[in-house]
């Protein structure tokens, strides 16, 4: 029964993710159609990949008839941040969590699913992650389907408003911790400022956002861990 409860809480927190995903993947569907994909191909890509930046890049790869090596390298750069997220989650779940649960949970690691999962207090239950995935994956796939078949079912005003849902949710994940800890507050401000500076310098603006995320994470979290080691058992 505890598992069902975890699933339910996860599903509830997955609803804003599903709304936000719907808006983003609706846009993806429209672009996929323009790139010449049929509805099946577009939904297939969304349901198997579950990653926004990677899929937008994928459309370019299809258009340019890229080689396997190019496809793999692009995804590796854009999505390498999932490696760090998966690493962080490996320390949040019970060490006894079965191999099977680990295989299934891994499929759902996106920026947002990761966000609401690390925000969960105590040991992370796979069923909580499944609950989030149960909302997020249909949201992502259905949005793609509607985008590719209709193109203009949703008024642009609504798409625009829904597009901020994911960011709002991610803020709700990090801000409460900033209230508790001045170190985290400082890190969040520092991260946003450096990210903004990197995006503003024309020479550096061409760095893929995936690469930027992983470089800044390594540098900022790496230095912070050295200067402010966390002594107590923060995961319990």
């Amino acid at each position: 029964m505890k598992n069902v409860r975890e699933w339910r809480i996860g599903f509830k927190n997955g609803i804003p993710i599903a709304l936000g995903y719907f808006a983003v993947s609706f846009t993806f569907g429209i672009l996929a159609k323009q790139a010449g994909l049929n509805p099946f191909e577009a939904v297939f890509m969304s349901a198997t990949n579950l990653t926004s930046a990677g899929q937008f890049a994928g459309l370019t790869l299809i258009a340019t008839a890229a080689t396997i090596a190019e496809i793999a390298a692009t995804q590796l750069i854009i999505n390498s941040r999932y490696f760090l997220m998966s690493f962080a989650l490996s320390q949040r779940i019970d060490p006894e969590t079965s191999f099977f649960h680990r295989l299934v949970m891994s499929f759902g690691i996106t920026d947002e699913v990761f966000g609401v999962s690390v925000a969960r207090q105590g040991r992370l239950s796979p069923y909580y992650v499944y609950g989030v995935m149960s909302a997020a994956i249909p949201g992502w796939s259905l949005g793609t389907l509607f985008g590719v078949i209709s193109g203009n079912i949703l008024p642009p005003r609504m798409i625009s408003a829904l597009s901020i849902a994911l960011f709002g949710m991610l803020l709700a994940v990090i801000i409460p911790a900033a209230k508790e800890s001045k170190i985290i507050l400082g890190l969040i401000i520092l991260s946003m400022v450096t990210s903004f500076i990197l995006a503003s310098i024309p020479m550096l603006a061409s760095i893929s956002s995936g690469l930027k995320i992983i470089i800044l994470t390594f540098v900022i979290a790496g230095v912070a861990a050295f200067v402010f080691p966390v002594k107590e058992n923060t995961y319990e």
């Binding site: 680990r102 891994s106 901020i164 709002g168 801000i175």
Partner: protein, 101 residues
Amino acid sequence: MSNAIFVSVVMAAVTYLIRVLPLTLIRKEIKNVYIRSFLYYVPYVTLAVMIFPAILDATASSWSALVGFIVAIIFAYRGASLVSVALLACLSVFCVELFLY
């Protein structure tokens, strides 16, 4: 198999490997204080870098996005739930854009 399906399969395989390797290979609790601290800070840094300045390009206007950003911070700070913060941010963007256009 169409080219689009082929590209999707390769992309999905690479992306899944990135996601699955740490979670399946690292099966023990890491005791090292430095690595533990690093992993503790990772979510805050990664998510903060992802949010800003990307949030400003998310909506139809940077102004509506900026208002949504501030509204989300205020409600998140006051302890509102994930769902409420997300929906209030959407609502504020919607209202600002009604006013702008």
